[in-house]
Amino acid sequence: MKKMNLISKIFFNIFVIIFGITTIGSDIALANAGAITAFLGQSTQQIINDGSSESIIMNFSDFSSIKELQSHASDITAQVTEEGAVLLKNDNNALPLSSGAKVNLYSSSSVNYIYSGGGSSFAKKADFISLKEGLESSNFQVNQDLWNWYAENPSYFGDHTSNTSSDKAAYTIKDAKWDDINTAAKSNEAEAAIFVLSRYGTEATDLKFTGGSATDYSNGNYLELSPTEIDVLKNLKALKDAGKISKIIVLLNSVNQVECDYINDPAYGIDAVLWVGIGGTSGTLGIGRILSGEVSPSGKLPDTYWTSHHYNPVYANFGSYDNEGEVLSTANGGKSNRYVVYQEGIYLGYRYTETRYEDTVLGAANVGDYDYSKIVAYPFGYGLSYTEFEYTDMTVTENKADDTYTVTVTVKNTGNVKGKESVQIYLQQPYINGGIEKASVELVGYAKTSVLEPGASETVTVTVDGRWFASYDAYNAKTYVLDAGDYYLTAAKNAHDAINNILSHKQNVDHITMDSSKMVGEGKFSLVYKTTKEEDKTTYSVSKVTGNAITNQFDNADLNLYGAANTANAVQYISRNNWDGTVKFGMTESHALLNNQVIVTVTPEMVEDGKKGSQKIEKDDVAYPTYGEDNNMTLASLITIVDGKPQFVSFDDPRWDALLDQLTWEDTVMLLSNGLRKTFGIDSIGKPVTIDGNGALGPVGGTNYSYNDNENAGTNRFAFLYGDPDMESSPISYPCAALIAATMNDELAFELGSVIGEDCLWAGYSGLYGFGCNMHRGTYNGRAFEYYSEDPMLSGYITASQVEGIRSEGVYVYMKHAILNEQEKNREGVNTWSNEQAIRQIYARPFQIAIEEAGAENLMTGFNRIGVQWTSQHGFINNVFRDEFGMQGFAVSDYWQNGYMDLVGGILGGCALPDGDTANNAESSALYKYSEGYGTLAWAMREEAHRILYVVVNSVAMNGYSASTRFISITPMWIKLLEGAKTGVTISFGMSAAFYLATTILYEIKRRA
C-alpha cells in the first residue's frame, strides 16, 4: 500500500503541475485571444456570399504585385529625404561633392544606421538600404576597408533596439575612438570624411537629459557629443589639416536634436551639416542624391535647433514628478501619483525664442537677459539650398465670404542650380500687456514651388484661414477672441526671418521705436502685409464646422481654474508680460537638475474627480434603446451602388436607427469590449471583423503582408488572395514624421499617405493606428520620431495631407495619442496639466486640422490623464473633437490595462473601444451588468456602436461583400483545441486527486490497524 500511495502521489504531483499550467495558461491565452488568433492566421467569422446581390467594390489596388508596390513606396520614401533633409551649414560650398568622389564614413552609426525608431513603429532591418549603398547609388566611392572594420566590430554599435515599459531602457552611443579603429583605412585620402551622428528614440522611455551614462555621454546628456565622438571629430580635423581629406561633412541621423554648439566650433573644422532625420528603408538613396548635387536640398527644420537644451524652459517641467500629499493610486486603480505641468503655456519652441527676441528688440519691460544668438543655433523653418531664392511681389487678398486670406508670393531662383523652395507664411497678432498670450510669429501656411531652373520664377499661393487670427481667452471671454490692433502677415524663409520682416515693417513703415542693434539678421518690410482689426468676441465663438458654441472645456486641466479655492496649486505660466519672472529652467549649463518644476499637491477633489467611470456611475430612469429587432437589414444594405461605385453612407442617414435596433445588448457589449487592433464582427447586422494595422508611420510592426491570411481580413488582403510570391516580405519602413514635415510638401505627404494605404490593403488592414499628432514639446521624448514638429499648424496640415492620401485608398486612421501625451516618462496615468489656450492652440490643433481639412475619422487616446482623469473619460472627445471639430468616427484607448483604464468611463467620455480584448463572451464583459437601470450609458454605447459602424461601412472593410453576405461567428480552432485539452486535463487531475486521496486514506487506516 505504501508503494501504491507513493505512485499515486507521483501521478498527482504530475497532474497538479499540468492542471495548474493549463489553467493559468489558458486564462492568459484567452485574455489575449485576439492577438493569438491573428498570429495564427485563424478566423472568427465565416463569410458566406450567395451572390444574389451586387458586390461592393470599394477599392482596387493601383499595383499588380507587392514588388511593384514596394518599389513605388521606396521611391516615395527616398523622395521624402530628398525634399526633407535640411542643409544646416555649407561653408565654401563644401556640398555638393564632386562626381564620383572618394568618401570615408566614420562612426559605428555609419554601419549601424538608424532607419526607424523603436516600439510600435519598430521595423525589420533586413530590407534597409545601407548608407554605403545609398552613396554608391550616386556613384560615390566609399572606403570599403573602413566600412568593413566598423561592420566587423559590432561591439562599438549603440543600442538601437530597446523598447520596454520599465524605467531601465538604456540608450547607448558607444562608438570607436580614433585609436580603437584598428585599420590604416581610417586615414586614407578622400575628398570628404562623412561623420554620421545618430541618436535613437523608442516608445516607453525618454532620452536622458541629466543623470544618464557617465561613460557614453559625460554630462549625462544623450543629446550632446559623447567623448568618443569628440575624439573622432578632432582627429578628422587633424586629418583635414594634414591635407588627407579636404572636407568634413556631418550627417545628423536623428529626430531628437543634438545640441548644436559643436557645429561652428573651430576645434572640429566641420564644413557642412545635413540633417537627414530617420529616413526609413530607402532614405539613404535621397542622401546620396543630395550629396552628389543631383538634388538640391529643400527641407526646412520642423523644430528649433538650440545651441544647448538648458536654454529651453520646457525642461523645468519635463520628466518625473511625484504629487505632494496623498497619492491618487488607491482610488483610481493605480498609476496616478505623478504629474507634469506644461508651464510654458503657448510659448513652445520658436513661439518662445522668437517672441522673447522681438520683445528684446522692442525693449519690452521685464524681458530679462536674453541673447538670441547665443540660444538659437537654427530657427524653426531654417534650411539652406545649393541655390538662392528671392521673394518678391507679396500680395494678400482678404476673402470676407469665407473668412480667408489669399497670399501670393513670387519666388525666383537667383542661383546657379535648379531647386525647390518652401515659402512659409507667418502671422503676428497684437499683444496687449497682461492680456491673452500671443506669440510674435506663428506659421499659418506654406507652399512649395516646383523645381525652378536658374533664373526661373513661380508665384505660389497660400490660403490662410481667418480663424487663425483669433486666440483663445480661457480666463475672461472663455472662447476665441479677435483682439483689436494690428495684424501682420509675412512671407519668410524661417521663423526668425519672419519676425525680422515684421520688425523691419514696424521700424520703417510704422515708425515704432526699437533697439535695432539687438536685431540678429535683417528683415524685408516689403514682404509684410498689415491689417487692423476691431475687437471681436463673437465671430469665432462658434465652430465654423458644426456651428456649436465654443467655450471652456479644459478648466479641469488648468490648475488655475481647477479647485479655485486651492491656491497652493496655482501655476504661473510663462507670460510675455513678465519673461524674467515667469521663465524657469530645468537644468544648468552642465545639465545639473534645478528642480524648478511646478509643485502639485493632491486635494480631496482630485481624488474624487479622478475616480473611474464605473466608480462614479449612478442609476437613472432613462429608457433603454430598442434591442434585437428583426428589421432584415445588414450593414452592407445601407450602401447604394451607382454605376458600380458604392455611395457614401451619411452619419445622419435615417436608416441607421433601424439597423442599430437590430443589435442585441450582447452584440453591443461585445462590440465595445473588444478592440485589440480590430473592430468586432457582429453576425446580426452583417458586420465583418476588421483588422487595423499598428504604427504611427505605417503598418510595420515587424509583420509580413501574409500576416492576416484569414477571413477576418476580408477581401483586402491582396497579398494572400493573389498568392503574391513576396507575401512573406514586410511593408517597407517609412520616414519619421519630422522628415515628412520638413518637406513642407502637401502633395508628397498625400502620396506617402496613399502608398501607406496601399500597404494596408495588401496586408489586409482596414485601418491604421496612426498618424502621430503629438507635439515635439521636449526633444528628449523617446517617441519624437513618430511626431511631426514643435509647430501645430505644420503638424496639422501635413497630417491632413497624409490622411487624405490614406483615405483615398479607403483605409481609415486613428490619429494618436489624443491628447497631452508629449513624454513617455510615466506615460501610464500621469496627471497632465496645462491651460486651455495652449491645449487648443498647440496640442489639439494638429488633430483639429486633420479632422476639419481631411475628415480624419478616429482617434487613439493617450495612456495619460488630462488633469486627474484618464484621457478617454475626460470628455474632450465629445465636447471638443466632435461638437466643435466635427469628428464623426470613434476613439480607441491606448494599449489596454486593467486598473486605471475603464470601459464605462471611456464610453461615457466618448471612447468606444479598448485597445485590448476584454471579454470572450458578453457575460464576462465589465459592461454586461449595466443592462438595466443605466439608460444614459446604454445610449452612449449605442452612439459609439453607431460611430464604429459608420466608419466601417464607408471603408475598404466592405470590399467584396454585398447586402446578402452572411457572417457566422466561429470559434477559432486553437480555442477549440485548448478547451478540449483543458477538459481532458481537468478530468485527469480529478482522477489523480481521487486516486491519491484514496490510497492515502487506505494507507493511514492500514497503518493504524
Binding site: F12, N13, K335, G899
Partner: protein
C-alpha cells in the same frame, strides 16, 4: 492513537518544508513591498492570500496526526498555486520586456525586484515539491 503529531521536529522533511516556507515568505515580502510605483499594477492580494493560507493549512494539517502526511502536499500545492497566480498577474510586464525578442540585453532590463520575487517563488515551490516526498512524522516512517 495520538491526536496530535509533534514528531515532525525530528524529521528532515519538516525542515525542508520550513525552508520552503521561509523562501515563500521572503518572496511574498519582496513582492508586497517591491511591487510599487510603476510595478503597482502587477501587485495582487491574491498572491499573498494564497501563500499565507497554504502556510496556515500546512501548520494545522501537520499538527494533526491523521493528516500530517498530506500537509507537505498541501504546502506544495499552495506554493505552486501562488507562483501561478503571480505569473498570471505579471506576465504583461514580461511582454513589455521581451517586446523585441528574448535577448541578454532584455534580461538586463528586468527590475531586480521582479527578478528576486520570481526566483524566490520558483525556489519555494521546487523545495516544497522535494519536501512532499520526505517524511514529516514518525508515523510515516513506520
Amino acid at each position: 492513537m495520538k491526536l496530535f503529531n509533534f514528531s515532525f521536529l525530528r524529521r528532515k522533511g519538516f525542515y525542508v518544508s520550513a525552508a520552503s516556507i521561509v523562501t515563500l515568505l521572503a518572496a511574498v515580502i519582496s513582492y508586497t513591498n517591491g511591487f510599487t510605483g510603476v510595478l503597482l499594477e502587477y501587485n495582487s492580494s491574491n498572491v499573498y492570500t494564497i501563500s499565507l493560507l497554504s502556510i496556515a493549512a500546512f501548520a494545522v494539517l501537520l499538527l494533526i496526526e491523521f493528516t500530517s502526511s498530506i500537509a507537505p502536499v498541501v504546502l506544495w500545492i499552495g506554493s505552486f498555486a501562488t507562483f501561478l497566480v503571480y505569473i498570471n498577474n505579471i506576465y504583461m510586464y514580461f511582454t513589455g520586456i521581451f517586446y523585441n525578442g528574448v535577448s541578454a540585453e532584455a534580461f538586463q532590463l528586468i527590475d531586480p525586484v521582479v527578478m528576486t520575487s520570481t526566483i524566490l517563488f520558483v525556489i519555494s515551490f521546487v523545495v516544497a515539491n522535494v519536501a512532499m516526498y520526505m517524511n514529516h512524522s514518525d508515523a510515516e516512517e513506520a
